[in-house]
Every structure is written in structure tokens, then in C-alpha cells.
């Protein structure tokens, strides 16, 4: 007797949202809409992260990735007029390659049958970042500052 599992429904909806958004990023004609669908992919992924037991990572993904990076792409793309580009005539070959890669990964990943029973503790993660990964944290902070400087330079530069 199958019981109704609301988590399974949330998983199916969020994974469908992610996959459809990814497909639309690649196949949609307008590059602005493609950038918008990237933000939907980020939201779908954040829901999946929460279901895996990483709600803080999901919030960080929404704030930094969707809120900053994707919005930066979206606003930059609005400045660019999409010029026609001759696409390489390798679509069938690329489709076969991508399908084979995806099927191989699914085959490899099908061995992992465990259920995630993990909930990330905010205190543990923060302590780990500060004590063990402090150097990487500084590098990441500097990298984010460079993004800010790039954005300001883009806004001011006159060629």
C-alpha cells in the first residue's frame, strides 16, 4: 500500500523545475529569458539542497548565486544586443555525446541507494570554515570583491 509522501511530491516538482529550466536555458531563443531560467534552475536546486539536509547552503545559494551572480548576468545581457552567430553543425553528435554521458553517470550513480539522513549544523559548518578553511574563505571573499570591482568598471568604462 503506497502512502502519500509530500517530500516525494516536492522532490518531483523541484527536480522537474530544474530540468525544464535547464532545457529552456539551452533551447530558448531569447538570451534574456535564458538568463532568467538560470535563476529558476538555482531556485530548484536550492529546494533540492534543503531536502538533502543543507538548508543554510540553500539560503547561501539563493543569496549569492541567484541573487548576485544570475542577476548580474541578467542585467549585463540586457546591455548586449544578441548578434546572429553561426552555430556549429554538430547538434546530432552533441546530443548523442550528452545523452551517453548522462546515461553513464546515471549508471554509476545508481549504486548509491542510501537515504540522506543528515542535517547540517550551522555552528559546525561555521567552525569548520573559520578553523580549517579560513584561507579558502579569504580567497572567496577577495574573489567576490573583484566581482564588485568588475561590475563598477563595466558601468564606468567608455571605449
Amino acid at each position: 500500500m503506497n502512502q502519500f509522501d509530500p517530500l516525494a511530491v516536492v522532490f518531483i516538482l523541484s527536480s522537474l523545475m530544474s530540468v525544464i529550466a535547464a532545457a529552456l536555458i539551452v533551447w530558448h531563443r531569447s538570451i534574456v529569458y535564458s538568463a532568467f531560467f538560470l535563476s529558476l534552475l538555482g531556485v530548484g536546486n536550492a529546494i533540492l539542497f534543503t531536502m538533502l539536509g543543507f538548508p543554510i547552503i540553500a539560503l547561501f545559494h539563493l543569496a549569492v548565486y541567484v541573487g548576485a551572480a544570475v542577476t548580474f548576468i541578467l542585467f549585463s545581457v540586457v546591455m548586449l544586443r544578441e548578434a546572429p552567430v553561426v552555430e556549429p553543425p554538430t547538434k546530432a553528435l552533441a546530443l548523442i555525446a550528452a545523452a551517453v554521458l548522462a546515461l553513464m553517470l546515471i549508471k554509476v550513480f545508481s549504486d548509491f541507494s542510501a537515504v540522506p539522513s543528515f542535517m547540517l549544523n550551522y555552528r559546525d559548518r561555521t567552525m569548520l570554515l573559520v578553523t580549517k578553511y579560513w584561507c579558502a574563505l579569504i580567497v572567496a571573499a577577495i574573489a567576490l570583491v573583484t566581482t564588485l570591482i568588475e561590475a563598477i568598471t563595466l558601468a564606468r568604462r567608455e571605449v
Partner: protein, 101 residues
């Protein structure tokens, strides 16, 4: 839900991203496809990290740093694309060859 389902979603996202990367020459579209692959990698990484309580905090810390670096990488590539568009009025990656010093 078993972890294999999350990993399957990640594999599908990876395949779509690879297809987009192989079939496009527009720099922004290639960046968006690379971002799909990045999202697939994050999902796979966190799925595998959630299998063991010992790996969880380490996986979370690495993903936080990866997301920050990805945001910076997006800034760099979009800056190059905007500069290229201003100078060449095109976003074709084949045009990048002409920027060689």
C-alpha cells in the same frame, strides 16, 4: 527519497549543460550552459556529502567556497563578453582569437 534520485537529476542536468556547451558559439550562452554543469556538480557533491554525517560539514564548507568562486567567475566572463561586444559588436567565441596580443 534515495540519494540515487538526486544524482540522476544531476546527471540529466549535466547532459543538458554539455549539449549546450557543445552546440553554441555565443559566449553568454556558453556561460549559461557552463552554469548548468556547475549546478549539476553542486547537486551531485551535496548528495554524496549527505550520505555520511562526517562528510556533511566538509561538503557544505567546500560548496560555500565553490559558490563564491563561481560568482566571481561569472563576473569575469560577463566583463570579457561586454568588452568584446563593445569592441567587435559580436559575442562569437571564434572572434576571441582576434584579441591575441
Amino acid at each position: 527519497m534515495e540519494v540515487s534520485w538526486y544524482l540522476a537529476v544531476s546527471a540529466v542536468l549535466f547532459g543538458i549543460g554539455i549539449y549546450g556547451l557543445l552546440t553554441r558559439r555565443n559566449m553568454i550562452r556558453m556561460l549559461l550552459s557552463a552554469e548548468i554543469i556547475f549546478n549539476a556538480a553542486l547537486l551531485a557533491f551535496l548528495s554524496l556529502a549527505s550520505l555520511d554525517a562526517g562528510y556533511g560539514p566538509v561538503g557544505g564548507a567546500i560548496v560555500v567556497i565553490a559558490i563564491s568562486l563561481s560568482a566571481a567567475e561569472v563576473g569575469v566572463i560577463v566583463s570579457i563578453a561586454v568588452m568584446m561586444f563593445r569592441m567587435r559588436k559580436a559575442l562569437d567565441v571564434y572572434e576571441l582569437r582576434k584579441f591575441r596580443g
